[in-house]
């Protein structure tokens, strides 16, 4: 038996300018040996042809530069969102467009649980159901004999039923910010922010951190990625303990685990030197399918929560400027130390003032500690203008733009947060590209669903939920969109030497598609079917 396999495909979109299209790819030892026609491997010796993908279109495995392990883990709970969503096992969960539908759906979910077991729902978004506010009465209809907890998609608010309120001891005598009450002081069930939510959360055993470290969560992250054509993904702001590292190492090492994971630890809650030391120590444990050593910094909050730090003229509703989760002077210190220690940073910046501070901080760090190949990445970078992209390009800073926001929240941004002018140039892919910035685009799953073809569709069409095109001048071409979710992403992650395109020497990581994304109407890019992935030459069809 030969150790060379040649996969035959209907078409291969390589993202390699030297050979943009092909029909065959030869794989040896999990890597790409040759690309071309049926005989592409002939000069390397005997080979076997695998025709299982002959009717499919292959692309480089998609690369998601901003997602969280929770994207898989959340499916342990009941989906309660407005939009249709597919779970890691391929089951379609219909979006719920009225509160009655949410109640009906969760009621049938409750019937599948053991008596008394808490029912936890997630993904509810009040922004899309404006007629009535979800309250305990709705959730009491679902179940009176078990706690019912519905986490909102922002993860900053939840609504709970009477049984859950009772469990936490919340009644008309409880007085704390975030526990919403009616006119008589009775809690409505809506709880805002962690301080008010955690008494319920720890009693129903709903713990994000532990959730993200469980074996099942890692596996379901793998299946979620597989369905989206993703072969390499980040887990930004991971908490890694010695035990969770063991779990990560053992699950990702399984032959049929279909994903390379790049976790980056949160640079918060510890001094910079200590974080750098932990990152460095973790890096030494990296394997082929688990890439450790990066860090994630937080700076400001979110635009839709009015907590992003924005430059003049601020928010259209006159809300005060947002908040820093890390003080600017700490951002400077972290940037300097990570740069000095050669630790790659992913830095959350939503507002343009936050982006500016980070660019300044990296600029200062680079003067002190030159490291040209750092490829630090500004994550979200939603309000960066051409001026900031020009500076980023000059400093070799990469960006990861939140293209999915254009569709999900674009209308809200124009009307309620930063106003028309700046909403039109949000997530400005064209400006980034024109400035020569290496960039990618992301879903921030589970905040929005993982699906790079959808994300590319957002960047290509810039269509909002109301159907308008938000800033035509910033639209990408389909090829540029596809580049952003493959080689572009690989570059920002410093992995373009081994993934992101189908060319000799790289990992045999492919997205297996049902049709040619370059041949469909750009408006239908999101509808191109994903049939599965190939990771290191191993086929994982759905």
């Amino acid at each position: 038996m030969s150790d060379i396999t040649v996969f035959k495909a209907k078409k291969i979109i390589t993202m390699d300018p030297n050979r943009p299209a092909a029909t065959h790819v030869a794989v040896k030892d999990g890597k790409i040996l040759a690309v071309g026609g049926a005989d592409c491997a002939a000069q390397w010796g005997a080979f076997e042809t695998d025709s299982s993908l002959a009717d499919s279109v292959l692309m480089p495995g998609f690369v998601e530069g901003h997602a969280h392990m929770m994207a898989g883990a959340m499916w342990q709970y009941a989906y309660s969102g407005y939009h249709d969503r597919t779970d890691p096992d391929g089951k379609l969960w219909k979006g719920m467009t009225t509160i009655d539908e949410v109640v009906a759906s969760l009621k049938s979910y409750a019937a599948t649980l053991a008596p008394g077991e808490p029912l936890v729902g997630w993904g509810f978004d009040p922004i899309f159901l404006p007629t009535e506010r979800l309250n305990r009465r709705h959730l009491d209809e679902i179940a009176a004999d078990r706690p019912v907890v519905v986490m909102f998609s922002s993860f900053h608010v939840m609504c709970v039923n009477s049984a859950a309120l009772e469990m936490a001891g919340y009644d008309e005598d409880t007085e704390a910010e975030g526990i919403l009450t009616d006119g008589n002081g009775t809690p409505t069930g809506e709880l805002q922010e962690m301080a008010a939510m955690f008494p319920v959360m720890h009693r129903v055993g709903f713990d994000f951190k532990k959730l993200s470290q469980e074996e099942d969560s890692i596996r379901s992250y793998g299946r979620t990625a597989n369905r989206a054509g993703v072969t390499t993904i980040t887990d930004l702001f991971a908490t890694i303990t010695p035990e969770s590292l063991e779990t990560l190492l053992s699950v990702t090492a399984e032959q049929d685990f279909p994903l390379r994971i790049v976790p980056t630890i949160g640079a918060m809650g510890a001094p910079a030197d200590q974080i750098a030391a932990q990152a460095r120590e973790l890096a030494a444990s990296s394997t082929d399918k688990l890439r450790l050593g990066g860090v994630k910094l937080m700076t400001d909050g979110s635009i839709q929560g009015w907590t992003a730090r924005v430059k003049w003229p601020g928010y259209v509703g006159g809300q005060p400027n947002g908040i820093w989760n890390t003080a600017p002077e700490q951002i400077y210190e972290l940037c300097e130390i990570m740069q000095r220690e050669h630790i790659k940073m992913n830095i959350h910046t939503n507002g343009d003032e936050a982006s500016e501070v980070v660019i300044d901080a990296i600029d200062a760090a680079m003067r002190k500690h030159p490291w040209r190949g750092a490829r630090h990445v500004l994550q979200h970078a939603q309000m960066m203008g051409a001026d900031q992209f020009a500076r980023a390009a000059g400093l070799g800073i990469c960006v990861n733009l939140f293209a999915n926001h254009l569709w999900y929240f674009g209308d809200q941004h124009a009307a309620l947060t930063i106003g028309e002018d700046r909403a039109m140039r949000m997530d400005a892919c064209r400006s980034a590209k024109d400035a020569g910035v290496h960039f990618t685009i992301h879903s921030d799953a589970p905040v929005t669903p993982l699906g790079p073809l959808f994300t590319a569709w957002c960047a290509v069409n810039r269509t909002t939920m109301s159907g308008r095109t938000l800033g035509k001048a910033q639209c990408l071409t389909v090829m540029e969109g596809l580049h952003a979710i493959t080689l572009g992403a690989a570059y920002t992650m410093g992995m373009d030497d081994e993934i992101g395109s189908i060319e000799a020497g790289k990992q045999a990581d492919f997205a297996v598609l049902g049709s040619d994304p370059t041949a469909v109407d750009p408006a239908a890019l999101k509808d191109v079917p994903v049939l599965g992935t190939v990771l290191g030459g191993r086929v994982n069809l759905l």
């Binding site: 301080a195 008494p199 720890h202 702001f237 908490t239 949160g266 809650g269 510890a270």
Partner: protein, 293 residues
């Protein structure tokens, strides 16, 4: 009668203001309490080696029963872990981050039925507060940290400059103490002082006013809240039990400007105790307030 809830005291203040210095001193003299402290960096809490029983990657255990722990990125889950500890510590102290809003953390103690609000102490650096509070980037957050405090500790100065004192007074009515005065912080917030009927301090303390009051009126919740809200502002802490007009009683805990009233079984009689700084309050004032119709 006692209160089994875990008190939470939050230490706020900008980077370098002196939060860890304060924590170090509290840990060194914990007033017989098993303190549990959550900090960002225990490397910065310079515990006297003689006090150290053991240290591992993220926990310091002291010979006096106190524990100092790094909280990591997930503060609220860390609080849940503290509640699950057996035995539970006597008092939880959390160091807010340099830009953190101490009030947001302290809210956890108001919401969580197994916890009790134990005050916010904000440390203010006398040398840079004026500049920081005016900073276009972080000024608002600096001012918010100060405004929510029950006690202000002014660091890096031998006496509080009048201009600073005036500026701080516009932000909060909280008492302003010198940072060296850790005794007062411990006396007011950490030391377990007596419930009604027991001695407040083991011996009379020259710096404080102790007040106690009893009564026979049965209160509605609204009337009690109204009454407590009128207390003399210098009465820094007030606690005790009050008879209710519906057959159940009230447990009152007031710290600084925060009042928490919860329900308990009906006590035989109403009884409250309070303490405050001598230069801020006197017993006559307290008596007049309590007796007033």
């Amino acid at each position: 009668m006692k209160d089994d809830r875990l008190p939470l005291t939050v230490i706020g203040g900008y980077l370098g203001a002196g939060k860890t210095t304060l924590i170090n001193k509290l840990l060194t003299d914990p007033r017989g309490q098993r303190l549990m402290v959550l900090v960002n960096d225990f490397g910065a809490v310079n515990i006297d080696a003689a006090l150290l029983e053991s240290a591992d990657e993220d926990t310091l255990t002291l010979t006096n029963g106190c524990v100092c722990c790094t909280m990591g990125a997930d503060l609220f889950m860390a609080i849940a872990d503290v509640l699950a500890r057996n035995p539970r510590p006597d008092h939880l102290i959390i160091e807010a981050s340099g830009v953190g809003d101490p009030a947001k953390i302290a809210t956890a103690a108001k919401a969580e039925k197994d916890m009790r609000y134990g005050g916010i102490v904000t440390v203010v650096d006398a040398t840079n507060f004026a500049r920081l509070s005016d900073d276009p980037m972080i000024g608002d957050q600096i001012k918010a940290q100060t405004a929510c405090a029950d006690l202000l500790l002014i660091s890096k100065t031998g006496s509080i400059p009048p201009a600073l004192r005036a500026q701080l007074s516009t932000l909060t009515g909280a008492d302003q103490l010198l940072a060296g005065d850790v005794q007062t912080v411990a006396d007011l917030l950490i030391t377990p002082w007596g419930w009604p009927g027991t001695q407040l301090f083991s011996k009379p303390h020259p710096d404080y006013v102790n007040w106690s009051g009893t009564g026979s009126d049965d209160f509605s919740r609204a009337a009690l809240r109204e009454k407590i809200s009128m207390r003399p502002p210098g009465l820094f802490r007030l606690k005790g039990f009050v008879r209710g007009d519906d057959g159940r009683g009230f447990l009152v805990q007031a710290v600084g400007s925060t009042v928490a009233i919860s329900r308990i079984d009906q006590p035989d009689s109403t009884s409250l105790v309070g303490i405050g700084l001598k230069d801020r309050v006197n017993t006559e004032e307290c008596g007049t307030w309590w007796q007033a119709g």
